[in-house]
């Protein structure tokens, strides 16, 4: 079957935090096929204004619907925030490659999810999938969340409901550790390295680029594999405009530019060459 942009009905569009909204869209096909870490391209305006669609990762899927969580950052997301129940949006997806389960020693792995800001939704989707679909016990999942203040620790309660209570860090100290997410992630990794050095850990991270860089550096320091989900401007979302390139190592000691939309948005952290 051919993939086509579809007009989808908005089921609800509710404010979840200052400047943040959760939108539920109706699509049994996308709900069935969406994988955590994948995304959809949404045409937010009419008559090609704004011109380019915007990429959003999945927060959750349910019977016949999927949710997105987004922040109002510009004209496109402002238009999106004004959408009401029953409005239609043109959506293309699911697109891209999402999170991957580590192959070997699957049962023994501790899955460490580190998310910041609107990077948290695809990690929640992954946590839910790990627990419900892959039957990973909640005790094998650790979640670290970062945000400006307690208002922006998205999905905190939803994670707790899954049985995975997040460890939080806020810039203003209004909840959890005062400072960056690495301030809570590093003590965890270092104590684990000291107590159970051979127990496998897999990190998954999504958030602002400086955070991805810092988490990747920690992963390298403690020799832990990490998957990073990057965000780049994405005019097409399906690998033709070549606009969403990121610099990655080419396995021959050099570099190449990989497309975030088709090769990613999830990449092996040790391949990404941060600028």
């Amino acid at each position: 079957m051919k993939l086509k942009p579809e007009a989808l009905k908005v089921i609800e569009n509710v404010r979840t935090a200052p400047g943040h909204y959760r939108m539920r869209l109706a699509s049994p096909r996308i709900a069935r096929t969406a994988k955590p870490g994948q995304f959809v391209q949404i045409t937010v305006g009419e008559d090609l204004d704004p011109l380019l669609p915007r990429p959003f990762s999945f927060l959750q899927t349910g019977p016949g619907w999927f949710d997105l969580l987004y922040q109002v950052v510009g004209r496109g997301t402002r238009i999106l925030a004004g959408k009401k129940k029953g409005d239609a949006l043109t959506v293309l997806g699911p697109l891209g490659r999402g999170w991957e389960l580590p192959g070997a020693v699957r049962g023994q792995v501790t899955h460490v999810l580190a998310g910041g800001g609107v990077g948290i939704p695809p990690l929640y989707h992954w946590a839910e999938t790990l627990v419900k679909k892959h039957k990973v016990p909640a005790s094998r999942i650790r979640v670290f969340l970062g945000g400006r203040s307690k208002d922006f620790l998205h999905c905190e309660k939803a994670f707790a409901k899954l049985g995975v209570k997040p460890v939080c860090a806020t810039d203003d100290g209004s909840k959890g550790f005062k400072g960056r997410i690495t301030g809570v992630l590093e003590p965890f990794l270092s104590s684990r390295a000291a107590s159970v050095p051979t127990a496998p850990v897999q990190i998954y991270t999504c958030g602002p680029t400086p955070m991805l860089k810092a988490v990747s550096a920690l992963a390298a320091k403690y020799s832990v594999p990490a998957q990073v989900s990057v965000e780049e401007p994405m005019p097409c979302g399906f690998g033709v405009c070549l606009g969403c390139a990121i610099k990655v190592s080419d396995d021959k000691g050099g570099h190449r530019f990989a497309l975030s939309c088709t090769e990613g948005p999830v990449f092996d952290a040790c391949k990404v060459m941060w600028s």
Binding site: K2, L3, K4, P5, T43, L48, D49, P50, L51, L52, P53, L92, E232, P233, P235, C236, F238, G239, V240, C241, L242, G243, C244, A245, I246, K247, H255, R256, F257, S275
Partner: protein, 329 residues
Amino acid sequence: MKPDLKVKIKNVTFPNPVLVASGTYGYAQEYERFYPVKQLGGIVTKTITLKPRIGNPPQRVVETPGGMLNAIGLQNVGAEKFVSDKLPYLRKLGIPVIVSVMGYSVEEFCAVVEALDGAPGIDGYEMNLSCPNVSYGTAAKAPVQTAAGASKASAQAPAKKPRMFAHSEALIEEVVGAVRKKTTKLLAAKLGPDVSDIGAMAQAVERGGADAVSLINTFTAMVIDLKTRRPVLANRTGGLSGPCVRPVAVRMVSDVFRAVRIPVIGMGGITSARDAAEFMIAGASLVQAGTINFMRPTACPEIIRDLKTFLTKEKVKRVTELTGSLRLE
């Protein structure tokens, strides 16, 4: 009665006049997931260079009102891999395949066409004389393009070195003339809009012996980040495309149609059958849809369908009757 959509240029018959613009359609197979690509009027591939290119560092794109800037830097698989990996799919489509080609010098332009010309399945070439995101005279493999370095082509140019072939009538005529000697296939040359007299540039294409002239490529443009006061794109400038350029492109096609005798291939911000018809009325024999393929991947079949409806409604029997039917009296 169904309107006749066929357009013939040289020995190539295009089933309809709607092609896809270079750099917006990859190597075509990428669009098979959306619709059967064979319904297009023809394919213009991503620009092929002699050697593979990894392209420019990010950030490569930025949105603007009614358009976007890109500075991809001609990322492509190179002539050899194009022939071995991409052409087998393209030749099976049964529609004209026009390969966009580019070289950093006259010699390299000839070399890429020579490397491709023996391969089966290529119906013609569109010489990219006007990519705003690479500089001439730099090594084909270089990951980052710099303004330094002089090609033989630019050394022969008048006092001020042009940034691209398409900025100099003399260079256009020289490079088109040289490539003309290398192939008997349909040869088009693509002009950029950053010139004062587009008609004169098109005449140079005609003197060089090309069978058609394509226009427009993107406008060299810049967006600045006010906080950092740096250009948003790593390449500093990028090529502006999208609906915002369309009225300028239509005017230029109209100018060129009256300046040359060879067919004109028109493009620049086409998003609908209405836009395609507008370019044809201005003088285009064929049109190319570009940027719209990114945001509406199913746009081209819709344009072809709607163009048929338009012709039927207007009682136009042959699409070729539209070409140059602009009334100025």
